[in-house]
Symmetry: C2
Subunit: 417 residues, 2 copies
């Protein structure tokens, strides 16, 4: 079936899902969870075929691990759906309301977006997570996963669609878009009037191409060149703990730190401890001249950082490091190289914290906390569909509210202007 | 100067404007208002040259009227700036905040968008209005007006920039983009990384081309094929009054009605009154077969409506009219031909009102009120930059809040995850 035709079906299904009650949607979410667990053998068999094909094609161990499902991971997907069922329904929430001087009653009400397109890479759990969040927010969803996970995704979507039908909701509210060619991504990007928003989740290149080419509105997610700035007034023990957590606790995610900035006043004592600690944690440091020199003095090898290093989202155990002369220089460096995701300062100074949080332009600005906290669950949103790094519509972790729009409802008694 | 270079200057200015206090911004707005009044002769002389050139080029009387300034209109622009100075500052507003279970203090704070690009047509008052709203919301603005108003716009922007400088704010927060070629609109659309959002205000064609080609995020505004649906349970006196108001009070604006749908059960009595009343008001009716026949019976000429008529935003004293068999058919017609701007039902039935407001997908859905009420000032927002007909970021009249984004500020005490 063409993406256009899938879009038409999704649009028709969206009209039904949009007005479904919370009780119906939650029943569908629970039915989806139960069905995933009940039909786990089917899903695992499909996934096994994907994993075998991936291994034969020489896929890396890390990617294979992201691709592979097991009973535990399927339980996790089911648990995610049940958790979403437990969240409040964003649809119908009155965002603001008042009675105007002329007696008109005005309400701004949260409504679904309509049809959401999601383009994502290997991880098959995104299939169930995204479908659940979109459904709860009253949207239909077109899921375009990676071709390497296509059998797994097809099996999961098949299970979810059956559960929708059993609950009396249109199965076409959840559809998988064929992943065999890049053409289907292009078709999604051009499905203006059928798809209301496109959310690319994945590498910088995918996101850039969608942003450049899409005529459907896009929410950019996830590219994170996140900085930890160790201020002159930092508690260096705290700074080191935050740095190691932000860099090493999960290097492959977008809220991991990729760059360290150290104020010159504390560079000597901080790098003396940080460089060996980073080495011991398996981190490769790419430093400016000051850092290379500091490494040399301590016998810790430091690679020379290029401009590309300072702009890189490594997603690996690499870190760019620069010494800066002032808070102002740190803010300037972040403005130049940051991607507007998460930026942290470690400082004991109220003034420095205030200036940093005011002037740094990013989705999340953290004081004395690891960048790893920028996350929908951590922020208490219950679940997230991604982390927006753009300024329109949603910025930062996107929960259910961010999958909605609003509508003004105006009640009069024959009012004319 | 190239648009790129203007964008760079705007971005630099935006960093200053973003952190300016409300007192400073309001002082600048008042200085801008005073300067416009004081230097009115300059502005009027430039406008006179535009008007003369327009008349020589055969511009229509309606367009010449939109283009022409006079002392009264300049006072109006100054009044608009003073009104914006009186509005609360959206920047810094805490949208939500809580202390997370782990003790992290989370705040979502309103921040400026950065650099706003506005592409608009003849009316020079938009120049001052848009500059004022963007400044108050902490943004720099690139204004790309029409070439027919270029002298007027240059004079106004010159006055505003001087007032900014006198207040100690960077003049580059307000810049006029050259209007001599379409190329500058394209450059604005491609100024990703410099321009944060582009707002096209104007005809459907301009908006379509910006939406199709822009890599900068766009907020669509204003195309309004607005419907009045007269339900079976309508008070026909009320319906006629609302129809005439929505169609004739100001036919050239986006919230004017362009299409009338009448339930078959009341078509005969309603059209018997509406068709002559519309004729008397100078309205040309484009009707379906039922309406043509009803016109024939009453001796009121009705043109045969085509598909194009039902999709048209006339912006003139024309109206498409169709008879529908049910509320469901009316909702289906609106889903097919509407532009998601403002849709009104006239009904005495709670059920019909409920179904219409729930199922019709538009920025504003009105019950027993004229579509003309969809307006930032009417809604109590103080002023508006346009009316968004898209679902992302802002939908409906956009006031100061809609010219902002948000940022999460997270305060910890050494938190790691």
């Amino acid at each position: 079936m063409s993406v256009q035709e899938q879009g038409r079906r999704a649009k028709a299904a969206a009209a039904t899902i949009a007005t479904a009650t919370r009780a119906t949607k939650d029943a569908a979410l629970r039915a989806m969870a139960d069905a995933l667990v009940r039909r786990a053998p089917e899903v695992l068999a499909a996934n096994e075929a994907d994993v075998t094909a991936g291994r034969d094609a020489g896929m890396s161990a890390a990617l294979l691990d992201r691709l592979a499902l097991n009973t535990y991971r399927i339980e996790g997907m089911a648990g995610g759906l049940r958790q979403v069922a437990g969240l409040p329904d964003p649809v119908g929430e009155v965002v603001r309301g008042s009675t105007l001087p002329n007696g008109l009653v005005l309400r701004q009400v949260r409504v679904p977006l309509g049809v959401v397109g999601i383009v994502y890479e290997a991880r098959p759990n995104v299939t169930a997570d995204a479908a659940g969040l979109c459904l709860k927010a009253g949207n239909a969803v077109l899921l375009r996963g990676s071709s390497s996970a296509e059998r797994s995704n097809a099996a999961i979507v098949g299970v979810l669609r059956d559960a929708l039908s059993e609950t009396g909701l249109p199965a076409d509210a959840v559809q998988l878009v064929e992943a065999s060619s890049r053409e289907t991504v292009k078709q999604l990007m051009r499905a203006r009037g059928l798809v209301d928003v496109l959310i690319p989740r994945g590498g910088a290149q995918l996101i850039r191409s969608v942003v450049e080419e899409s005529t459907v509105p896009v929410i950019e997610t996830g590219v994170g060149n996140c900085h930890i700035y160790v201020d002159a007034a930092a508690d260096l023990d705290m700074a080191l703990e935050i740095l190691l957590n932000a860099k090493t606790s999960r290097p492959s995610v977008c809220n991991a730190a990729e760059s360290l900035l150290v104020h010159r006043a504390v560079a000597e004592p901080f790098l003396a401890r940080a460089l060996p600690a980073l080495r011991d944690a398996g981190v490769t440091v790419h430093g400016d001249a000051d850092v290379v020199e500091a490494g040399g003095r301590r016998g810790v090898p430091v690679l020379e950082a290029t401009e590309e290093d300072f702009g890189a989202e490594y997603l690996s155990l690499d870190l760019s490091v620069a010494v800066v002369g002032s808070l102002d220089a740190a803010i300037g460096h972040i403005a130049r190289f940051g991607t507007g995701h998460s930026e942290a300062i470690v400082t004991g100074s109220v003034e420095a914290a205030q200036e940093f949080t005011t002037r740094v332009d990013a989705a999340a600005v953290l004081v004395n906390a690891s960048t790893r906290f920028t996350d929908g669950e951590e922020f208490g949103f219950g679940a997230e569909i991604g982390i927006s790094t753009q300024k329109l519509h949603a910025r930062g972790p996107m929960g259910l509210s961010e999958l909605t729009s609003t509508k003004y409802v105006v009640l009069g008694t024959g009012h004319v202007r």
